[in-house]
Symmetry: C3
Subunit: 332 residues, 3 copies
């Protein structure tokens, strides 16, 4: 907990409002309450600002007149937000062994695991060697956590979940703000990872925690090895994600989606329910219509590929040379 | 070991045959013996069924008349098979320390390793800190197993093998059957991973165990970091697989293949000997002729790329507009 | 330390020069001193050979006349070099616990970490459970090393560095020489990984050590999860590398580059400062001009993609059929 004055000092903001108000955390502009800090980055969020119930808002000076609460005025809102997050990040103290506060029942836990404070492990769980579970993690019944898995602070895992060796649940998201000298300032990710029931997570897969809210893996989702799931992703019920898929920050996948191995989904992409993506594709736009999608270059003999690439990289010029108009094509 | 009656109950099958026969495991339709269960999924395997030596077969009712042995009749064969596999999966009991049954000679083993029952470790092996080796693993002479590696139950590793930090050998394959409610049911993978001599495996690489038979990495294969090798893959002698390659389930690579980094090979693909694949390619068909293959889009300035993609995504319409026929092209 | 005679015997070379000279290590042809061995692979390095200050050089017989120092004559220089590297690789003896020689101050270290000889850990570092730090590693002040990280021998890490769970620093590079029987012989990588200040490294990311010189990650670089950085890569100050990027051996990235997730950069590629690469691209040539680059196939409905690929794989024939000349296109 910090006073607003302390926060203003840390992020180098001009405070307009109550220096002594106590701030207990950070929340989104839509959900922040009177004890929480939020930020508004740009005029397009003006109406959200006007409706905000937050205890304080980080913003630019030109939005001050629309601010219904205490204001922290800065030039670079995102950078100031990045600095503020670190105030509210819980530091984990390295620990060895199984903390006496751990609650469990009929669980088989390898004695060399590391399990932190206030962890709840459901009935009939199996926790293999070298697993590290940080403070305040909750695991449901009948989980199988395989060797060398790391589950970081505060994450929550449902019933009948399998986590394969080397997987990491709750790593920091990759969010960084740049200052004027082009140095990066990391955002401390304050959200967690919430995993539903009957979920399976593959070996050496990594799932990042959310920035403010949680990354969510819904019931029945199957995830293969070496998959990367970034901060604030939501994966809908019964979706299946094959190996080495990369899912960028804030993506939302619907129910029963199937994503083939090696696919990259760019950040902030939405897929509706029942989307199938062939492996090795790049999903560079939202997919709003159910169906089967693909995007990669089929393999050729190398010499042929070289000839094709020459023409492909001149395809716009070919069209121009042949005087083809897009409009005409679409009419056909 | 289960009686056929117990299995029928577990997978909800109608049993035609001997309820009391004892089944000791699951095998493929070609290899199953009288004490083993197999499955036949579809009429195209009718002849295999007729020749089967299995103790029992999971199949659809319409193949019952061709079944030479005990039958377990179900509507969804693959789903029933998935459920049956779990009966035969050995549960590993979490263990700490080095089990007294471990056989070894002149090995240097970090005392904080976890090594299960009936493990054989060859002469002059080095096993670094935090390595987890589950029950019934065999490792040949002169192996170097680096920190935080997990080798799961029953896998077999040859002589002079190097396994880099964080690699996982023998993780579950990504095979799941869907029920009518579109929920996934995992297949318990009963095969192992068999690694030959003089093999090197990179950091955080994952190699899945086979479904029924084994995933095989033959002598002399070199595998880089963060590679994914799915269930039942066979990689031929002296092949080299660069970093972050994804090899889908049941792929077969010949001898002396070289696969560049970042390549994705779709499931069930075969490559003959001496295939070279440029990095970042997608191998979406079998490669039956020796040679050098490539398939990706070369990099461009972003603005140019955007123009090219517009035309690429209309390439079929351009061809149609220009009234080009594939047949004519091929004649040229 | 070996005499040149011992080395000649190991790599099966004809020695022309002083059998008894003592060789303490291997260095590049430009930097090797009188106590070091180097190699010259091909006539294009003739001038480098003539200027060499090395104690001995592995080379082909036809360059012997240009050799100013002791010569080790072989048919296959690269293979002989590969064999020689293993003489100078320090073997790590598996160790448990925190070696008494470790120097540290106000560090919080989980008691179950493994920390080798002559390790220096700066002030106020936090080292979480199951971390393995091999001999001669140096870590600066205020580092946070998360669970299950492996940092291999001799690597050096700056101040305020965060290493996320499961990351591997200093794994062997993927360099192998082929003999006449097409068997691979690994090169023992004698360089290290040198990481600057304010660097962040994601979960399960792997950074390989250099062959002879070091892999370098400069100050302020941000690296996401599951990234592969190969041997001898240099990443310039304040660059940001998103998840699952693959950077091939000996790549050089300038300052403030931003590489999107899922991108593959081929080996030996250079990027100047301030390059932006869209995620999922393949960087298959040097990028010498600042700007934003992209290279992948946008996603389509699968049926449309199939039609497009047919034409794409005939694009060279289409151009020929339409009698389009590249020269004409470029004139436009």
């Amino acid at each position: 907990m910090y006073t607003l004055g302390e926060i203003a000092k840390t992020i180098n903001a001009k405070l307009v409002g109550d220096t002594d108000i106590e701030i207990t955390g950070i929340a989104t502009s839509l959900s922040a309450n009177q004890a929480q800090l939020t930020y508004i980055n740009g005029k397009k969020y003006k109406q959200t600002l006007i409706n905000s119930k937050a205890g304080a808002v980080i913003l630019n000076n030109d939005l001050l007149k629309n601010c219904p609460t205490n204001a922290l005025i800065v030039d670079d809102v995102y950078l100031a937000f990045a600095k503020a997050t670190h105030l509210f990040k819980k530091q984990v103290v390295p620990y060895q062994g199984i903390h006496p506060s751990v609650k469990t029942n009929h669980a088989k836990i390898a004695p060399n695991c590391t399990i932190g404070k206030n962890v709840v492990i459901g009935n009939h769980c199996t926790i293999a060697s070298n697993v590290v579970i940080e403070d305040n993690v909750t695991i449901g019944n009948d989980a199988l956590i395989q060797p060398n898995v790391s589950i970081l602070q505060g994450c929550s895992i449902g019933n009948k979940v399998v986590i394969s060796p080397g997987a990491v649940i709750g790593s920091e998201g990759f969010g960084n703000a740049q200052d004027q000298q082009k140095h990066w300032h990391s955002i401390a990710h304050l959200g967690c990872v919430v995993i539903g029931n009957n979920v399976s997570i593959g070996a050496n897969t990594t799932i990042d925690r959310g920035t403010i809210e949680d990354t969510q893996i819904h019931n029945g989702v199957q995830i293969d090895n070496l998959v990367h799931i970034a901060h604030n992703v939501i994966i809908g019920q019964d979706s299946a994600i094959a190996a080495t898929v990369t899912i960028g920050g804030s993506c939302m996948l619907g129910k029963r989606c199937m994503v083939g191995g090696g696919t990259t989904i760019a950040s902030h992409i939405s897929l509706v329910d029942d989307i199938i993506v062939t492996g090795a594709s790049t999903v560079d736009r939202n997919l709003f219509e159910q169906g089967h999608y693909t995007g990669f270059t089929s393999i050729s003999k190398h010499q042929k590929w070289k000839r094709i690439q020459v023409w492909l990289l001149n395809l716009d010029k070919i069209a121009h040379y042949l005087n083809i108009k897009l409009k005409k094509l679409k009419e056909k």
